[in-house]
Chain length 255, copies 2
Amino acid sequence: AGKVLAIVSQKGGVGKTTTAVNLAAAFARRGVRTILVDVDPQGSVRYGIGLRPGQPTPGITEYLSGDRALQEVLLPTPLASLRVLLAGAIADRGDHADFQRQITTPGVLDELFDELAGRADLVIVDTPPGLGAIVRRVLEASAHAIVPLQCEPLALQTTPQILRGLQDIVAVNEELALEGMLLTMHEPENPMSERVAEYVRASLPEDLVFEREVPRTAAVVEASAAGQPVVLRDPNDPASAAYLDLADVLRERMG
Amino acid sequence: AGKVLAIVSQKGGVGKTTTAVNLAAAFARRGVRTILVDVDPQGSVRYGIGLRPGQPTPGITEYLSGDRALQEVLLPTPLASLRVLLAGAIADRGDHADFQRQITTPGVLDELFDELAGRADLVIVDTPPGLGAIVRRVLEASAHAIVPLQCEPLALQTTPQILRGLQDIVAVNEELALEGMLLTMHEPENPMSERVAEYVRASLPEDLVFEREVPRTAAVVEASAAGQPVVLRDPNDPASAAYLDLADVLRERMG
Ligand SMILES: Nc1ncnc2c1ncn2[C@@H]1O[C@H](COP(=O)(O)OP(=O)(O)OP(=O)(O)O)[C@@H](O)[C@H]1O
Ligand SMILES: Nc1ncnc2c1ncn2[C@@H]1O[C@H](COP(=O)(O)OP(=O)(O)OP(=O)(O)O)[C@@H](O)[C@H]1O
Ligand SMILES: [Mg+2]
Ligand SMILES: [Mg+2]
């Protein structure tokens, strides 16, 4: 669907959820009606978007099983322009195979994303790590993708694989555009971190890597502990500034 | 199989591969005949085990497709007592769905692990993040599991889910024992990191959390850049000491 932006990565723990949550908050702060969707059975968005303690958290699990209507699982957040569709009860279960089967059934995600695109200006999707079936389905139903890359040596080895994966999917979904690779958890005084960032920029076309890195800051970790997006909890932190700037860059680019 | 130890986590980027590679090297240094298996389509073990530049890297992909015999994909490493079974060609592909289907076909992993257990004293398995089909199959065919937990706030939220997942599998695989949760990337001077470590220890039975944390060190990142296990490249680094100690603890515990 035309307004759907997926956050994907092959490597784990690179900042997909942090990016999804903070981009969603940044757009919503600007008044863009946004829906943030969590298709990761891990369900981490629930802990990062600033929900009220004790707030009920049904989501995709309940919607796909028919227990809830879409209206009932589009949850309010501290921002007027942001609603969230969580993973739901799957996040408390230890077996993810059924959820994966359901959500990757042909047509299911396309239909869901179309529904959501009709109710918002922008849909942002947080995904599980890897290039498995769920991520493939998400990308087949999305128009935009961002790939976070953690500024560590392994980023260099995993980049070719994710670019190849994206190319495969563009072959079946012509409307998918890779908006860029986002360098995350960058440590400006750390020579290794700097070297990785420079190497990534040197080995990819300039327009494929966002100009501004997201720095590794204590504020992001504290916001995570507080269950909130850092752009809301600490808007002056350098990581917040980077995410707010990224949202502005994307708004212009995605039209 | 009795000698199979799986490294699993729900969260991405918590140090599964780093732990698998360094435990394997630590055991092999002690003369334990070890095979390290990589079932993660990301194939990161290839970049962390100290293979020679230009060394051919066939693996599970080629074995499952019938292109190579098992003997041909058990690769030598810098350590006499350590061989490695890599993920293989899947690591260069962008579509992981087929690999997942093949490797999770009933009986395939059990058979492979039995073969490997017959050729070594210990088999260590590195897995993809999450609790999807591949990880389930690995755990159904393993006798031991270790769960790395990164010392960050999200560790606290994801722990119940992985414990539940392990319990589900113990119900079908009685011989599976959780050897412990391993606190990784611990930063001793960082109050948040300390708080997470203390909270994990307080909220779980003592024998479920390994006594010694693995500290976050520059040496681990440098070893990763050099493509080697840190226990070989820098045995005196505190992270190496922690992994060498963990191997000794496990040797006693696993008999
Ligand atoms: N800029 C940053 N500064 C400091 N810590 C960060 C930053 N970005 C992310 N983190 C931390 O790194 C960890 C991993 O981030 P996150 O959960 O967003 O990654 P992910 O790619 O979604 O992981 P997964 O693969 O498990 O889905 C989290 O504990 C998060 O708080
Ligand atoms: N003790 C440590 N000190 C410093 N860096 C570390 C440490 N342990 C792991 N790392 C780094 O953290 C990153 C993630 O580690 P690793 O790849 O082992 O995690 P993983 O759980 O296997 O990730 P994935 O979910 O993608 O499989 C790597 O760049 C690694 O070098
Ligand atoms: Mg995530
Ligand atoms: Mg790994």
